[in-house]
Amino acid sequence: MQSLLLFILAFQFFNSDPPQDLLQKAQSAYRQGEQAQNIAARKEAFNNALSAYLELEKENGSGRLFYNIGNTYFQLGEYPLAIYYYYRAEQLLPRVEDVKDNLQIAKAKLSLPPDKSQEVWKEIVTLHPWLSLPERFLLFALFFALLIVLLSLYIWKPLPLWTFLAVIIGCVVLYLGSGLFYTRYIEPVQGVLIKAAPLFRDAGEQYARVIEKPLPAGLKVEVLDQRENGTWLKILDPQAEIGFLPHSYIRLLEN
C-alpha cells in the first residue's frame, strides 16, 4: 500500500509540467489584458502575464517568448524594455515581420531614429538579417556532416567527383565556421539603454559628460569594454560618441 502511494506521488511529481502551466497562465493573462474594459484591469492582467513570462525566461529563452515579453512590456508602457526584448526576439526570429513591426512601433513611441543598417560585409559574414544563431549552428552541422560523408567516399573510392564536391562543401563549411567565430570572438556585444543615461568621459559620475543631453532610453549601443569590476561600461552610440555609463542603465544583447 505504502509503495503504491509512493509510486502515485512520484508519478504526479514527474508528470507535472510547470512550464506548460505557466505558459497557459501567461497567455490567458495576456488575452485578458487585451480584452480588459478599463485601465486598472488591463494593467493587472498584463502584470500577471509579465510575471509568468519572466518566470519562464529564467528556465530559458526562445524568440517567441522574448517577443511576448516585449509585447507585455509595451502594453504596460515600458517601451525601453519592450525594445530590448524585441531586439532579443529579432536575434532568434530574424525573418518574422511581426517582430520587426512591433519593434518599429515601440521605437516610434520613444521617437528613436531607425537603426543604422549594418555594413554589407558584416551581414554577409554573420548572416544576421536572414538566419538566427541556432539556425547557423544547424546549417554548419549539416554541411559539416555532408563534408564528412564526401571525404569518407573519397577515402574508399578516390573519384574526382568527390574531390570536387568536397572542396565546394568545405568552402561553405569554412565560411559558416568563420561567421560563427566572428560572432563569438570579434563581433562587439550590443546593449539597449533601459533608461535615459548620461554619457561620461570616464568611469565615474565625477567626470565630465561627453554630450550634455543624456542618451535616450531604448537606444541600441555597442559595448566596447567594462570598468570598475563591471559596474561601468564603455559604449559607442549610433552617433559615434564613445563614453562611459553605469551598467545598471543598460541590458546586454548577447548571442
Binding site: Q27, L56, N71, A145, A196, G204, N229, G230
Partner: protein, 558 residues
C-alpha cells in the same frame, strides 16, 4: 586533401572551445618601495563551473587570495566574472614581472598572461591604514580598532544623502592583510562620488577615516554586517627592511542598520514626485519668443532653489499638471540639468499643440521637508504666450481651446491595442537543445574521428585482401592469348567454362571432372562441347572454326 581539412578544423575547434578567461593585474599603478602590493585576479567563467580557490598559483607558487565579488555580465547570461584580490610583499624600486596566474575552473586549469609592474620611489600616500610612521621596534602595545557607522538623517527618506564610514584607530605601522568593509559597498543605495580617505593624529593614536556618500533609493531597513580588518604591526629597520610583529592584529566593527522611511501618504500633494526639501523658491521663465506657431518649440528655464538635496531634485511632472494635458507636448529627451550652489536649473522643451493657447499655466512644485515631516508646495506664475496656426487666414480668429483646470485624471477606457498579438510558445521551445548551442562544435572532433577511423581501416584492410581472383572472362582472355594451337589453350578453355558455370551457380566447384558434369541444361551443353573439342584435338586435326564459334556462343549464353 583530407590532411588539410583535418588541420584546418582542428585549429578552428581549438579556438572555439576557449570559454574561461583569466586576467591578473596590479591595482595601484603608483607603487611605492617596500609597500605591500595589492593585485586583482578576474576570472570570467560559466556560473555552473566552480573556481577552485586552492588551485590558484602565481607562476608555480600557490597564491593566497581573497574572494571579492561575483559580477554577472548580464541578467540573461550564464557568464560571471569572479574577482579575487591578493597581496605580494613590498619590493625595492624597479621593474618586475608578474608571472602568469593559473587557476582550476571546473576540471580544467586556465592561465592568465604574464605582465609587468613597476615599483617607483616611496609613494606620497602610504597604504592603509598607515598614517604617521612609527619607526620604533617597540610594538608590544600595538593596537588596532575599527568603527563603522554613518552620518545623516535617521530615519532617512528616499533621495537623502547619507555618509557611510569606517574609522581605523591604530598606534603603530600596520600592514593590512584582510579588509572586509561591507558598509562601503552599500547595496541598496546609490553611490555618490568615490570613496574618501582622511588621516589625522590624536596624541599617539592615528585615525584613518574611509567614507562613502550614498543616496537612499528606496524605503526599507538596510542591515550591514560587521566590518573586519586584520594585519601585522611592523617597523622598518635601518636596512629598510620591514620587521613584522606576531600575532596578527584583528579588529571588528559593530553591525550597522540604516532605516529609510517611505514618504507619508497623509497630505501628499498630487504633484509630489520625490523632491526632498526644504526649498525656498520655484520659478519658471520663458527663454524663447512668446509668439509661436502651434507645434513650435518653447524653451522653458525652471529654477528650484533651497537647502534640500538640490542635486537629486527632479523636474515636476508637467504631463499631469492642470492645464498641460492635451495642450502641450513635452520634448522626448530628458531635460538638461545644471546645479549651481543651492539652485538646480532645468531646460525644458514644450510644444503647444493648438492655436489659441494664451498662457503657460502655473506649474506646481511640491517637496517633502524631513525636518518638519510635512509637504511644502510652491507655484510658478503663468506665462502669457501667443500660439497661431500658420494656415489660418488673417482676420479669422482661431478657435479657442479650453485647458483642463483640474488635475488630469487617467482615462478610464483603455486605448486600442497597437502592437501585433502574442505568439504561441510551446514548452519544448524553452529548453535549448545542445545542437542549438556552441556544443554543436563537438561534431568537428567527432567527424574527424570518423575520418581517421576509416583511413585506418582502409590501410589495414588492403594488404589482407591479396590479388583479385580471376573471373571466367579473364581466363577466357588468357586462353585466347595463348593461341588455339597451344596445349595451354585447351586447359584454360576448360577452366574458363567450369569457372563460368560456378559463377552462375550451376555447379558448386570448378574441380568437378568433365564426365561428372550433369548431362542436362547448360552444364550438359558445356560437357558435350568440351568433349567434342577434346575428341577433335586428339585426332590431330586443327580445331574446327565452327566449333570455336559455338564455344563462344555457349560461353556468352551461360
Amino acid at each position: 586533401m583530407v590532411k588539410t581539412f583535418l588541420t584546418l578544423f582542428l585549429a578552428f575547434q581549438m579556438m572555439l572551445i576557449a570559454e574561461v578567461r583569466v586576467t591578473s593585474s596590479i591595482e595601484n599603478p603608483n607603487l611605492g618601495e617596500n609597500q605591500p602590493i595589492k593585485g586583482m585576479i578576474s576570472i570570467t567563467h560559466d556560473a555552473s563551473e566552480k573556481v577552485d580557490v586552492q588551485s590558484i598559483k602565481l607562476g608555480n607558487t600557490p597564491l593566497k587570495t581573497q574572494f571579492q565579488q561575483d559580477t554577472r555580465i548580464s541578467p540573461a547570461s550564464n557568464l560571471i566574472v569572479s574577482f579575487y584580490s591578493f597581496y605580494l610583499p613590498g619590493q625595492p624600486k624597479g621593474l618586475y614581472a608578474l608571472p602568469e596566474v593559473s587557476v582550476k575552473v571546473g576540471n580544467q586549469t586556465y592561465k592568465s598572461f604574464a605582465t609587468t609592474y613597476e615599483v617607483g620611489e616611496t609613494a606620497k600616500e602610504p597604504p592603509s591604514p598607515q598614517g604617521p610612521s612609527y619607526n620604533s621596534p617597540s610594538l608590544n602595545n600595538a593596537t588596532l580598532k575599527l568603527e563603522g557607522s554613518y552620518e545623516g538623517p535617521s530615519p532617512a527618506y528616499p533621495g537623502q544623502l547619507i555618509r557611510l564610514y569606517y574609522r581605523y584607530i591604530f598606534n603603530a605601522d600596520i600592514e593590512l592583510t584582510v579588509e572586509k568593509l561591507p558598509l562601503l559597498d552599500a547595496p541598496g543605495f546609490r553611490k555618490v562620488g568615490s570613496r574618501e580617505v582622511k588621516d589625522s593624529q590624536e596624541g599617539d593614536t592615528s585615525i584613518r577615516v574611509i567614507s562613502q556618500t550614498v543616496e537612499a533609493n528606496k524605503a526599507g531597513t538596510f542591515e550591514f554586517p560587521a566590518g573586519h580588518i586584520e594585519g601585522y604591526a611592523y617597523y622598518t629597520n635601518d636596512a629598510g627592511v620591514r620587521q613584522y610583529k606576531k600575532p596578527i592584529l584583528q579588529a571588528d566593527s559593530t553591525p550597522v542598520a540604516i532605516v529609510v522611511s517611505p514618504f507619508p501618504a497623509n497630505g501628499r500633494p498630487a504633484s509630489f514626485n520625490g523632491a526632498i526639501g526644504p526649498f525656498s523658491s520655484f520659478s519658471v521663465a520663458l527663454n524663447s519668443p512668446s509668439k509661436v506657431i502651434k507645434g513650435d518649440k518653447l524653451q522653458l528655464g525652471v529654477d528650484i532653489t533651497g537647502t534640500g538635496n538640490v542635486r537629486t531634485v527632479p523636474l515636476p511632472d508637467l504631463c499631469c499638471q492642470p492645464g498641460f494635458s492635451g495642450m502641450f507636448k513635452q520634448g522626448d529627451l530628458p531635460p538638461i540639468e545644471k546645479v549651481t550652489d543651492h539652485t538646480k536649473h532645468f531646460d525644458v522643451e514644450l510644444r503647444p499643440l493648438f492655436e489659441g493657447i494664451k498662457e503657460i499655466p502655473s506649474i506646481e512644485f511640491s517637496y517633502f521637508d524631513p525636518a518638519t515631516k510635512n509637504y511644502g508646495v510652491l507655484r510658478s506664475s503663468p506665462i502669457p504666450i501667443t500660439v497661431q496656426d500658420s494656415l489660418v487666414p488673417q482676420g479669422q480668429p482661431p478657435e479657442k481651446k479650453e485647458a483642463d483646470q483640474t488635475w488630469q485624471q487617467q482615462p478610464q477606457q483603455p486605448t486600442p491595442i497597437e502592437v501585433r498579438g502574442p505568439m504561441d510558445v510551446k514548452p519544448g521551445e524553452l529548453s535549448t537543445p545542445w545542437w542549438d548551442s556552441w556544443w554543436i562544435f563537438l561534431i568537428i572532433p567527432l567527424g574527424l574521428l570518423v575520418l581517421a577511423l576509416q583511413r585506418y581501416r582502409k590501410k589495414t584492410q588492403v594488404p589482407q585482401q591479396g590479388p583479385k581472383p580471376k573471373t571466367s572472362e579473364d581466363i577466357l582472355a588468357e586462353a585466347n592469348a595463348a593461341g588455339v594451337g597451344s596445349p595451354l589453350f585447351y586447359q584454360l578453355l576448360n577452366k574458363a567454362f567450369m569457372m563460368r558455370l560456378k559463377e552462375k551457380g550451376l555447379i558448386e566447384s570448378t574441380n568437378i571432372p568433365l564426365e561428372k558434369l550433369p548431362q542436362e541444361g547448360k552444364p550438359g551443353q558445356v560437357r558435350d562441347l568440351l568433349q567434342r573439342i577434346e575428341e577433335q584435338r586428339y585426332t590431330g586435326r586443327a580445331i574446327d572454326a565452327t566449333l570455336l564459334k559455338e564455344a563462344g556462343v555457349l560461353f556468352k549464353g551461360i
